[in-house]
Each structure stands twice: as structure tokens, then as C-alpha cells.
């Protein structure tokens, strides 16, 4: 039973991270029907910036949770900046173009950003300081769920709530929903569609950065390549839940997290990745719209 709980919380933690990253994919796809291949790299950049900030802080004498928060905030700022720039340079010029063009551009940006970080920093796996303290009150359940997991879960939960409030209760959120449903109409009623799209990218990138910081301090290391794998998995989660649907991304993330955790725990950890990709393929073949998505009919 304990093992089950351990896997359960492990999967929940994993799933939360996937959900955070998946939200970026799903929001962008929902609004401009583009698979932002470079999103994983934004996540990675978030983690890297956090690493650098944490490193500088540690060396200059700061310590403790303040580093984590500082690193997190700066990482979010930078990731958002990268997301914004990414959209402006690589996607906006291609907004009327046939679907293949922005897709290739996205792949190109993904490759570019990976190598940019690789060259600017290093190809090594860099150690990330474990910034999340061990809470005393977690001691009794430490074998099932540790402090880092708790922090991740709480952070993710709060972030989701904030995001939901933003989308549902604010004017900006309404504008985002409108643009997603009908971009031309939104433009006609006076919504600055360009800005809304930029905002979508910024929010998605911020979420990914939060995920990046949490994961980096949880796992303890970063590398220029982590974006790709996390990206594909998060994308799987987004598709699983129904791409374009925000609750879908969260649901997909959790389902994927649990599926991976239980599969690795009860079957075998070696084939974990096969399982993920297999799941992706099966979902796309059987139900491309995902769990919460709607299949769209093409007008003839």
C-alpha cells in the first residue's frame, strides 16, 4: 500500500510538472494552431537562468529559500522574454502562411535555442543546488512524499488557480478566450490580437519556467537537452487531454504522470519512454481530439 502511495504521489508530482509545461503548448495551439516545438527549450532556458541566478547568489553569499524565490522570479521574467521574442521573430511573420511553414520554423527555433544555450554555456550536466528545504512536518510521511514534492504540488496548484482566475475572471482572459474562438471577429470588436497572442506566449513561457525551476531543484541538474524530452512528454500530455483545452492539459499531464509512475513502478522502468511515445501514438490514432477535446469537422 505504501508503495502504491509513493507511486501515486510521485506520479502526481510528475504530472503537475507536465501539466505546467503542457499548458504552454495547449494555449498556443488553441490560439494560433501552432505546435510550438521550441516550448521545451523555453522550459530549459528557465531552468538554466534559475541555475545561473542561484549560482551567482550562492557565490555572493545569499542562501536558503530566498535564492529559490529570486531565481524563480528572474527565471520567469527571462523565460517570458524569450517566449515573447520567439513569437515576434519566428512565428508572427508566418501568420498567414500554410501550416508547414511555422512548423518548420518552430523546429528550427528549437534547434537554434538548444545550440544557443549549448554554445553560450556548456554541454555538461550542471548541478543545480537543492534549494527546497526539508520541512520538519513532512518527516512522518517522508517515505511516501518528500518536501520537494509537496512544494511542487502546492506551487503548481496555486499557479493553476491563478491561471484559471485570469482566464475566467479578467478582461484579458476574456479577450484570450475570444481570440481563441474566432480571431477575425475578435479583431473586429477591437481586441488587439497581436498583443493577446504575445500574452499567451508569455504566460505559457512563465508557466514552463516555473516548472523548469521546480524540476531543476528537484532533480538536481540541468542540461541543454532537457527541454526536448520534457517538451515531447508535455506535448503528449497536452494531446492526451485534448490540445487547445486548458483543463485538458492539466488532466493530460496528471494522467501521463500517473501512467508513467505506475508503469515504471509495477512493470519496468527501462521502457518508460517507449510507453510515453506509444501512448502518444495510440491517442493520436484512436482519438486525436484527446480526452476533453472536440473533433472538428472540415467543411466541404
Amino acid at each position: 500500500m505504501e508503495y502504491f502511495l509513493e507511486l501515486f504521489f510521485g506520479g502526481l508530482t510528475r504530472g503537475s510538472i507536465y501539466a505546467l509545461i503542457a499548458l504552454g503548448y495547449t494555449m498556443v495551439y488553441g490560439i494560433i494552431q501552432l505546435i510550438n516545438f521550441a516550448h521545451g527549450e523555453i522550459y530549459m532556458i528557465g531552468a538554466f537562468v534559475a541555475l545561473i541566478v542561484a549560482g551567482v547568489c550562492t557565490i555572493y553569499g545569499l542562501s536558503g529559500v530566498s535564492i529559490l524565490i529570486l531565481a524563480g522570479i528572474i527565471a520567469v521574467i527571462y523565460a517570458s522574454a524569450y517566449g515573447y521574442t520567439l513569437e515576434k521573430i519566428a512565428y508572427r511573420p508566418l501568420r498567414g502562411a500554410p501550416r508547414l511553414s511555422p512548423l518548420i520554423s518552430a523546429i528550427g527555433m528549437s534547434i537554434f535555442l538548444q545550440n544557443y544555450v549549448l554554445l553560450a554555456q556548456t554541454s555538461d550536466f550542471l548541478p543545480f543546488p537543492r534549494l527546497i528545504p526539508d520541512f520538519a512536518f513532512m518527516e512522518p510521511v517522508a517515505h511516501i512524499i518528500g518536501s520537494p514534492e509537496l512544494v511542487i504540488l502546492v506551487t503548481t496548484f496555486i499557479t493553476m488557480i491563478l491561471l484559471t482566475l485570469l482566464i475566467k475572471k479578467t478582461r484579458v482572459g476574456k479577450a484570450m478566450r475570444a481570440t481563441q474562438q474566432d480571431m477575425n471577429m475578435a479583431r473586429l470588436v477591437g481586441i488587439n490580437v497581436d498583443r493577446i497572442i504575445s500574452l499567451t506566449f508569455v504566460i505559457g513561457s512563465a508557466l514552463a519556467a516555473i516548472g523548469g525551476v521546480l524540476v531543476a531543484s528537484y532533480i538536481g541538474q540541468v542540461n541543454f537537452y532537457i527541454g526536448f524530452l520534457a517538451g515531447v512528454k508535455a506535448f503528449t500530455a497536452a494531446v492526451l487531454g485534448g490540445i487547445g483545452s486548458i483543463p485538458g492539459a492539466v488532466l493530460g499531464g496528471l494522467v501521463l504522470g500517473w501512467a508513467e509512475s505506475f508503469a515504471a513502478g509495477y512493470i519496468s522502468s527501462a521502457y518508460e519512454d517507449v510507453f510515453t511515445f506509444g501512448l502518444l501514438v495510440v491517442i493520436l490514432i484512436l482519438r486525436p481530439a484527446g480526452i476533453l477535446g472536440k473533433a472538428s469537422k472540415q467543411k466541404v
Binding site: Y78, I104, S105, S110
Partner: protein, 408 residues
């Protein structure tokens, strides 16, 4: 004057933005072992200057594009002189003749190392031409193409390892197996379109690599398979230098074979069906074309080349492991097709040479190869989405003469 001032201000702002953006990654380097922070201020200067200059270039290119669009809308001539030259058939034949000649004497003039590089380039040419059928002609986005390449390579490696089968026997087997996998993979995804198709094929590609890495009893896992036989020369084994030359000529043969077959296919009934399917699937099916069959044949044909050249790859490197068959490879091959110009054979060849040979010959910049690669993909899509060689008009000369006869 104010215009210039405006542009200047804009570029300054852009420059400042990029300095800010790249600051943590380009300027700061944290050395946790020695607990030092390295501040690379020169990088900051480089970024500032480069982004300032590039923003001017960017604006200029965009403006030029606008002008081009206007001219095109008004029906004017938008093709550049180089393009018109490339379209001229007699020029192309002469160019191809020269290239062929140069290709044939290459290994005799240059050393083994150069030949090996050339062989790599030629392998990518065949891969590009193969994917060109699936993506360029039929419009089926395949991001997992490298899996078929791997199927060919592994099939030869395993056949050679377990049954001692030679290169020449394995060559068609590799092609056939590639074909088979193409059909198997194509079958379940017939109904998918666009983005979904891309992601599923990506998934397939990743599954192949991960399975090869983990199914040790089949593929020997991450350590791969070694001591694969090189192609035998009438039963003899050649030394490294000669066998490289041998493989080089085999590749030339394969490339020529691929080009001929691809050209024949493109100008045939099935080729037109592929192109029609790419343009408008619904209209295509309404005109009586069996979409399922057409798609499967595109996958199968494309995969065939990958499988076949995979065999050669294995024999050239004599050692294969799953690390050679990553998504990055698929992305590179896809770029070759898209940047060369979808459906254009000459474009794919130029693209392959450019992408593979340029970094090889510019050793100083080889670190930046992938960086330039990614940037090139983005820039091409923005400024020249139709590729190096854009779509040529398929003229039917015989129709002209027939017309004369009919009018008499």
C-alpha cells in the same frame, strides 16, 4: 532624415533588448566547482553590435519581401536572374553534366578522408530524395523518417551478424524492409492530417530509437553492433582506402538510380496523384483517386530509399548504434527537403550538399553548424518558403506540336 533617425532608434532598442535577453546565458558563467562567476563582457559587446546590425538587415529584408509581393500581385516577374537561369533546361543539363563528371573523378583526386565526407553527403542526398517523395510530392509530413533509415541499417547489421549475409544481398532486403515498415506505419495514420500527422510520425521515430536502445536481445542495446562487413568486391576484401573509393562509387550509382526513379515517378500518373493529394485531398478523392493507396505508396516508396541507403550506411561505418537515429536526423533530412524546395530534385541535392558539406569545409565554424542550421530553417521559412528551387512549370512539349497538327 527622421526616417533614418526612427530606424536608428528602433535598432538601438532592439540591441538593448537582446543584450538584456542574452545577459544571463551569454555573459554570466557560473563555475560551481571553483565557486567563481565568470563575467564575459566581450560577449555583451558582440551581442549589442550584432543585434543592432541585424535589425537593420531584418527590416531591409522584410521591406524587400513586401515589394516582391506587390510586384507578384500585379502580375510582374518575381523570379530572380538566378532562378530564371536554373529553369533553363539546357543550362540544367550542362550543369548536371559537369557535376556528374566532377563527382566521378572526385575520389581519384582527393584523399580518403574527403571521400568519406562526400559519401556522407551523398547518403543525405538519397535520404533527402526519399523523403522528398513522402513530404515534397505527397505532402505527408514525416518527422520520424530516420526510423526507416535505422531499419535498413539494423537489418543489414543483424543479417550480417547472425547469418553472415553480404552487402549486396542485404541491399534489396533493406529496401524492402524499409518499404514494409513504411506501409505498416502508414496504415494506422491514414486519416491524420497536418500537425497530428507530424507528431505521430515523430512518435514513431522516437519509439524506434528507444526500442532499439532497450531491446537488447534484438539490437544489442546502446552499445550497438560492430564489425559489420563492408561491401565485397567480387568476393575480395579491400583495404580502407580502396573500400572507401568503392563505397563512394556505389553511392554515386545509388544517387543516380534514385534520381532517375524519382524523376520518372514525378512525371507519371502516380506522381501527379501525389501532388494532387498534397494540394487538396478532398478534391483529389472526388476526382477518383484512392487516397489510402496513394498515401501508402508514398510512405512505402519514401521508406524504401531510406532502408536501402541504411544498408550502405551500416557497411560504411561498420558500426551502428541507436544514437545515429535521433529526431535531429529526421529534422535535418526534413530541412533538406523543405529548404531545397518541396518536390524539387535539384533543390534537394543542393540542399543536402549545403547542409552537410559546408560545415565540414568550414571547420572553424563547425561548432556553430547546428545553430546556423536552426537559424537557416527559420529564415528560409520567412523569406523564401518555396525553397531554393521553387516549383517549376511542367510544360508538355509534345502537346505543342500536336496542337500544330490539329490546327492544320
Amino acid at each position: 532624415m527622421t526616417d533614418m533617425l526612427q530606424n536608428f532608434k528602433k535598432s538601438i532598442l532592439v540591441s538593448i533588448w537582446f543584450v538584456f535577453l542574452t545577459f544571463p546565458l551569454m555573459v554570466v558563467r557560473v563555475n560551481t566547482m571553483n565557486q567563481v562567476v565568470v563575467w564575459r563582457w566581450t560577449n555583451l559587446v558582440w551581442v549589442a553590435i550584432a543585434s543592432f546590425v541585424l535589425s537593420y538587415l531584418w527590416r531591409y529584408m522584410l521591406a524587400r519581401q513586401q515589394v516582391r509581393k506587390k510586384v507578384a500581385d500585379e502580375g510582374g516577374e518575381t523570379r530572380s536572374k538566378t532562378q530564371l537561369l536554373l529553369e533553363d533546361m539546357s543550362f540544367r543539363y550542362k550543369a548536371m553534366g559537369i557535376i556528374l563528371l566532377a563527382a566521378l573523378v572526385f575520389p581519384l583526386v582527393f584523399d580518403t578522408y574527403q571521400s568519406t565526407i562526400m559519401i556522407s553527403a551523398l547518403i543525405y542526398v538519397v535520404l533527402g530524395l526519399g523523403l522528398n517523395i513522402t513530404v515534397g510530392l505527397a505532402g505527408l509530413l514525416d518527422l520520424g523518417y530516420v526510423a526507416f533509415f535505422g531499419v535498413g541499417a539494423y537489418s543489414y547489421a543483424l543479417l550480417n551478424h547472425h547469418f553472415d549475409l553480404g552487402f549486396w544481398i542485404s541491399l534489396p532486403i533493406g529496401g524492402f524492409l524499409g518499404c514494409l515498415f513504411g506501409v505498416l506505419l502508414g496504415f494506422p495514420i491514414l486519416r491524420l492530417r497536418g500537425d497530428y500527422l507530424a507528431i505521430v510520425t515523430l512518435g514513431f521515430g522516437m519509439i524506434f530509437k528507444v526500442v532499439m536502445e532497450n531491446w537488447d536481445s534484438l539490437s544489442f542495446g546502446p552499445s550497438g553492433i560492430a564489425n559489420i562487413d563492408k561491401p565485397g568486391f567480387f568476393g575480395m576484401d579491400l583495404n580502407l582506402a580502396n573500400s572507401t573509393i568503392y563505397i563512394y562509387y556505389i553511392m554515386i550509382g545509388m544517387v543516380i538510380f534514385t534520381i532517375l526513379v524519382t524523376m520518372r515517378l514525378r512525371n507519371s500518373r502516380i506522381g501527379r496523384a501525389w501532388i494532387a493529394m498534397r494540394e487538396d485531398e478532398i478534391a483529389c478523392v472526388a476526382m477518383g483517386i484512392d487516397i489510402a493507396r496513394t498515401k501508402l505508396s508514398a510512405y512505402a516508396l519514401g521508406a524504401f530509399w531510406a532502408g536501402m541507403v541504411g544498408v550502405l550506411f551500416a557497411s560504411k561505418t561498420t558500426f551502428i548504434n541507436p544514437a545515429s537515429f535521433t529526431f535531429m536526423e529526421s529534422a535535418i533530412i526534413l530541412s533538406i527537403v523543405v529548404l531545397g524546395g518541396m518536390g524539387s530534385i535539384l533543390g534537394v541535392i543542393i540542399g543536402a550538399f549545403f547542409l552537410i558539406l559546408l560545415p565540414e569545409y568550414m571547420r572553424a565554424f563547425s561548432e556553430y553548424r547546428m545553430l546556423a542550421f536552426g537559424a537557416a530553417m527559420v529564415l528560409m521559412m520567412i523569406f523564401r518558403p518555396q525553397g531554393i528551387i521553387s516549383n517549376l512549370r511542367q510544360t508538355y512539349e509534345y502537346k505543342g506540336s500536336k496542337e500544330k497538327i490539329n490546327n492544320d
